[in-house]
């Protein structure tokens, strides 16, 4: 197992390099001049700027040399300048990161809680009505276009019923809380502003539920499978024989052990949430990395979209690595060879 973990860790830098290489190739196969994707079209008429950018990104040199320059710039945190916001892409991403993290964490909590509950119920009533219902929920979860679901819940809960606020991170009449962590929930609390805190929470309910919904189904399927595994073991029979109550058997005896392999769903659902966040943020006008990516793609803002792609790829790789390693650590029986061959 140690060799498995070591192998994964050694592969990591190469995969990161691969991600960067793909990004580099993408910037070079754009139909647009790579130069315009760095400095923006308006600056193209300024020979001084063009020459400086050529020099900086080595565009007058051969492709392999350009690649080295590109790597160097990336390593120093230079992703180029977005020509929509006119800010360095790295800075744009950093500013928007807390909003995305806050939404993703909230969605993860909602999604995994509902997913675990649904999975436990499905396993308890295997092949009966609740199980089929859970299966239906899981299938619906992966069938609804998340951007449409966002529109539907906004229309129902915000427009028709008026229970919850519309898009945005905080009531539009309130100022943003003073920046400390960038997490509005924490910053409003630190500020001692309860009205703002309540507004932030209310704003978060719909997008977090929509995003959480995308993982509920998958989580419930994984919990169901591992619950079924555990429930068929002898110690459960022993607990039953001792006269333990059904709820106690499910939650105390079974779920505890079933949770071990399910722990990895945190890393696993993260991957799905990155994908979902892109569209959810767009619908809910959530000023995070997802809506930034969409705005960049819409505006053909190449440096921004490439920057997001690199950062997204890295986040994805790291979460997969953590998932696989915890999986191997938590469940030593895992057949690493078989998993690696898949």
């Amino acid at each position: 197992m140690l060799s498995y973990i070591a192998r994964r860790l050694i592969a990591m830098p190469f995969l990161l390099l691969g991600v960067i290489t793909v990004a580099f190739l993408l910037t070079h196969f754009t139909t647009a001049d790579p130069l315009t994707s760095i400095i923006g079209e308006r600056q193209m008429n300024n020979p001084a700027v063009v020459a400086a950018a050529r020099e900086r990104w080595g565009l007058d040199r051969s492709l392999p040399e350009q690649y080295v320059v590109y790597l160097k710039n990336l390593l120093s945190g230079d992703f180029g300048t977005s020509f929509r916001t006119r800010q360095p892409v790295a800075q744009d991403l950093l500013v928007r990161l807390p909003a995305t993290l806050e939404l993703v964490i909230a969605a993860m909590i909602i999604g995994t809680l509902f997913g675990i509950a649904l999975g436990v119920i499905a396993a308890r009533f295997q092949n009966r009505a609740p199980d089929n219902l859970a299966r239906l929920v899981a299938l619906f979860g992966s069938s609804i276009p998340v951007f449409w679901l966002g529109l539907v819940v906004l229309f129902i809960f915000s427009v028709q019923l008026g229970w919850l606020p519309g898009p945005g991170r905080i009531d539009s009449r309130m100022p943003a809380p003073p920046f400390v962590t960038g997490f509005y929930t924490i910053d409003t609390l630190l500020d001692g502003n309860w009205a703002a805190f309540r507004s932030v929470l209310a704003q978060m309910i719909l997008p977090a539920c929509v995003l959480g919904w995308t993982v509920t189904g998958i989580v419930s399927r994984m919990v169901r499978a591992s619950m079924l595994d555990v429930l068929s073991q002898e110690y459960i029979l022993a607990a039953r024989a001792k006269g333990a109550g059904e709820l106690r058997i499910l939650l105390h005896h079974a779920l505890r052990n079933a949770m071990l392999p399910t722990l990895t769903i945190l890393g696993f659902s993260f991957a799905y949430l990155i994908t979902g966040a892109i569209l959810t943020e767009t619908i809910f006008a959530w000023p995070g990395i997802g809506s930034y990516a969409v705005a960049a793609a819409r505006g053909l803002d190449h440096p921004a979209i490439i920057g997001v792609t690199i950062v997204g790829g890295m986040a994805f790789l790291i979460s997969n690595l953590v998932t696989d390693i915890t999986y191997a650590l938590v469940d030593p029986r895992v057949k690493i060879g078989a998993r690696a061959a898949q």
């Binding site: 992966s142 951007f147 991957a271 569209l279 819409r298 053909l300 190449h302």
Partner: protein, 280 residues
Amino acid sequence: MSEVAGRRHQISLPQWATLPVVVGGFIVMAWIIIGLTVPLWAPYDPTMLAGRRFVPPGAEHWLGTDALGRDVFTRTLYGVRHSLPIAAAVIASAVVIGCTLGAIAGFVGGIVDEAIMRLVDVTLSFPAILLAMAVTAALGPGLANAAIAMIIVWWPIYARLMRAQVLAVREREHVEAAIASGATPSRVLFKHILPLCWSPIIVNATMDFGQVILLAASLSFIGLGAVPPTPEWGQMISDGALHFYRWWIAAGPGIAILTIVLGFNFLGDGLRDYLDPRSP
């Protein structure tokens, strides 16, 4: 061994025709028939601008009209003529490219295997939608470019699947027997290994059909796929988001995507239970 495998491929109606397969198959068939015949019986023209704008759903326009006075119901039905062919083209290309490379990797092994699988690893390192967005943005918006981007995103999944299958089947005794009796490598691959590799590919392709339709709609929604006035579902929902209070504009295409993807998921889920009963 091969006897068991052979029996699994015999199709007998009662066994595979489970409820999910029948329901899923019915939904998908219905959409295919709609796609093929809709120009013959659709009440309106999908791009005709003549009608009144923003008419709510009623007897005349079942799902109302959009910002340009086009019939939403007609456009929704026409949408399948874009979504299904694109999904079919993407899946077919991804399966052909992925399975070819995966089979080569698994059968040849060595440095070829390494090279192909590292390429697979890197491609799968990206969240699918991000890579698709970046590639489409690089190539320029449009349905054809979005399709190319989705093929780039999807082939590695099949390469990985196929390679694993080939590696597993290669170890079986009948392959050893074939090699011992002097079969050429290509005969071993095509006659003895590949015929036993298809069931997970078929299940995945069916499930992925729905996912490709979703991703294509997402790309169009973002503005990277279909361009107006194409009646494409993602594009229509994007229109609906602009005119948010006219809820009916996005309702039709949303339900269309939901039903067709659900249909493919039912079909794939049911087929998996039948072809590959041991998976969760």
